[in-house]
Amino acid sequence: MKETWLRGAMFLAGIAFLVGGGTARASGTLTVGMTAGDLPITTGNPDQGFEGYRFVGYNLYDSLVLWDLSQGDKASDIKPGLATEWHVDEGNTKRWIFTLRQGVKWHDGCDFTADDVVWNMSHTTNDKAPEFDPSQFAQARAYLGTYAGVEKIDDRTVAFDTKVPDSLFPYEISYVLMISPCRAKEVKYDWTEYAKQPSGTGPYRFDKAVPHQRMEFVPNKEYWDKARVPKQDRLVLVPMPEASTRTAALQSGQVDWIEAPSPDAIDRLKSAGMQIVTKIYPHNWSYQLNFVTGPFTDKRVRQAANYALNREDMKDMLNGLMLEGYSTVPPSLPYYGHPVLYQYNPDKAKALLKEAGCVPCKVNFAISTSGSGQMQPLPMNELVKSNMEAVGFEVTLNTMDWNALLQLTREGVDKHPDTSSINVSRGSQDPFNALIRHVWTGAWAPKGANWGHYSNPAVDQLVDDILAEFDTTKRFVLLTKLNELMNEEAVMIFVAHDLNPRALSPKVHGFVQAQSWFQDLTPVTVAP
């Protein structure tokens, strides 16, 4: 009798092992392995760079202006979000008028109103207000360089004032996500508490989170844009900073989607039946140069460095996961134009160095071991070093961790005159971030992102003209001119554009990869 009972128990245990040992999940759940080291914060503008915006920010929240991620054929541009229309005030080019969408509700049931927009701007910019959140201030401030104030005109209209005429303001406001004042007041402005029960107007509602492990969203069935009500039952976000862990998790069926598989895992994933999706997007892996002291103050040396690089070799090294970078923006952006391209030409590079009298040309680069958008920084930098040394440079790589490099970047060239260049990859999603911030005298670090203090009256004039040009077509002409001028001046050592690789399980359907740092997960379904 005892033996029979034991056998039965063992049989049941075996069944339980087989069932439990598998990786069964509810159908329609999309589980994403992110590269982020931790779950992005949920109190509005997220941390963890644009990956935070991609998976948490634009899913829980909306901004007045959103990005059109519905197609992948051309670079994404902005589209109406919580605002249905915007225009510059006819009598005052320093004032933008936004018409707000009606009938939108926060996840907590409150109505979205013009007062909420005013409250949100106070929440992110006014350090005297009770709703002020310093972390949101820090996140949003970078995008609100020209913001001067906001005013409610009526229940469906708000006006934004800018310090100078700013034709690019709609792009900048697209990064400022709107959170629910109702919920904030309910939790008495306790942002730790708010993070546990965030409320936005986005296509997903927050369901639950286990700190550092996973965050789960469910569809917002009442989302105002009916075409973007999520098609999956549940979205689960898991931080997995280690590339090999992400790959294993996808292969074992624990996740359905991973961000940035490492180039050497691509063939293995393909042979396992995974979908590898790549697309050019506004990303720039390059070197920003020191224009105050050292060899790069000479344009010929900058050009020589650009001619020295064999970008095709680098593409091979990365298993094809890059596009050769010859400009600040990739050719897919509408203001790329016809810039001077510094194709691989070592002889020309040698001649230019000789002409500049810089032989051997000693330079040192501040680089990081890893970091957001940095791709494979160590081997890529080693290849750049060997290419440059082959034409007469003597390159010292000053390797540091990502945080230290960011600090060096923020402080600017004045504090680091001995550094010839910094290798910080940049998003070039909108015209200001793509072009202007790198070359505008008004953006000299530590005030802005012009690390090496490039200054050129012609460029500054062009920037002023761009900011004052409210006609999109005419502005594109000016932006194209700026991009071409930046190339002609060789303001950077251009190297690569990332291809935004991600690997998807064969069960994942309906994903359209946009040419953007952000992606729309709402049309995605997961077969059981």
Binding site: G37, A142, M240, G253, R410
Partner: protein, 318 residues
């Protein structure tokens, strides 16, 4: 004995204070900004100044230290800059997760390592000794993150028997040790984590046993006509204090969490927390974690010292 315990506890107080000073200062020596996680790369000097003021990082370091120590003494470790959760909660959650791994890895490692060491020590120079020593050296030399990745490839990717990463299935909000759906997440990290202490303990035990066996009193015991088993018992007892000291240290390391193993398995323990805090320069978490782990080390050593004194009366008298 009471006097001995009190004396050891009193010794621990200046050590703990020293640790708090060092761990507070250390994090400021490294380059980088404590507000990196909340600050975009393009933050202007003006933005940084306002945010530093809001977080209290604009005060002189000694003032920050006194404020921090005052809060720590009342159990308030501050708030994490990155996650906005109380540091105390961050550290205790992470420690509990690491302790879970350690509680399974330690007995496996200690029993296996000790047994291997005793066998090797009792047969010095023989093939059994060479075999055990070889395995022990391999255990110490194998990079455990590599072993972890190999185990994942075999058991998660190929055989699909165990999960590759994480600490619990989708939908769960806690870890349930009695449920296989949760418990299976423990298996691979525990095995990986146990490998290094196994090697270290096997080698330490072997050396201790071999050393005691070469002492005169063992010869005397044999001359008295004691059986080999009875002699071995004496040898083991005499070698135990040395082995226990190493076990204590190893337990401290296990509780401290392995950054590599926890990163490979995305296990949200103290090592993983520490590595993220270092990368993000999350100063309050860094200080809270280092201080707590150091205190755990001090406490573990204290407990081991007391246990050693119980086993070996000579230590008490010394």
């Amino acid at each position: 004995m009471t006097y001995y315990i009190l004396r050891r506890i009193l010794y621990a107080i200046p050590i703990a204070f020293g640790v708090s000073v060092v761990c507070f200062s250390l994090v400021y020596i490294a380059p980088g900004d404590p507000l990196q996680t909340v600050m975009p790369p393009d933050a202007t000097a003006e933005t940084i100044a306002i945010v530093k003021h809001a977080y209290g990082f604009d005060k002189p370091l000694p003032v920050q230290f006194v404020i921090w120590l005052g809060h720590v003494l009342t159990g308030d470790f501050g708030m994490s800059i990155a996650t906005r959760r109380p540091v105390f909660l961050e550290v205790t959650d992470a420690l509990a997760n690491t302790a879970l791994l350690a509680l399974f890895a330690a007995p496996i490692a200690f029993f296996t390592g000790y047994a291997m060491g005793v066998i090797a020590g009792c047969f010095p120079g023989r093939w059994l000794d060479r075999l055990v020593t070889g395995v022990a050296v391999m255990g110490v030399s194998l990079p455990n993150y590599w072993l972890g990745i190999v185990l994942v490839i075999v058991f998660a990717v190929q055989l699909m028997l165990l999960p590759a990463t994480g600490m619990g299935p989708n939908g769960s909000t806690g870890f349930h040790i009695y449920e296989w759906s949760s418990a299976k997440f423990l298996v691979l990290p525990v095995i990986t984590l146990a490998m290094i202490p196994i090697g270290i303990l096997a080698r330490t035990t072997r050396a201790a046993v071999a050393e005691v066996r070469s002492q005169d009193f063992v010869q005397t015991l044999r001359a008295k006509g004691l059986s080999e088993w009875a002699v071995t018992r004496h040898v083991l007892k005499n070698s135990l204090p040395q082995v226990m000291a190493v076990m204590g240290l190893q337990f401290g390391y296990l509780i401290g969490g392995s950054i590599l193993v926890e990163t490979v398995f995305t296990w949200p323990g103290s090592g993983f927390l520490l590595s993220k805090a270092i990368i993000n320069r999350d100063v309050p978490v860094l200080q809270g974690t280092i201080l707590t782990l150091s205190l755990v080390f001090v406490a573990t050593n204290l407990v081991v010292d007391l246990l050693q004194s119980l086993v070996d009366p000579r230590i008490r008298r010394g």
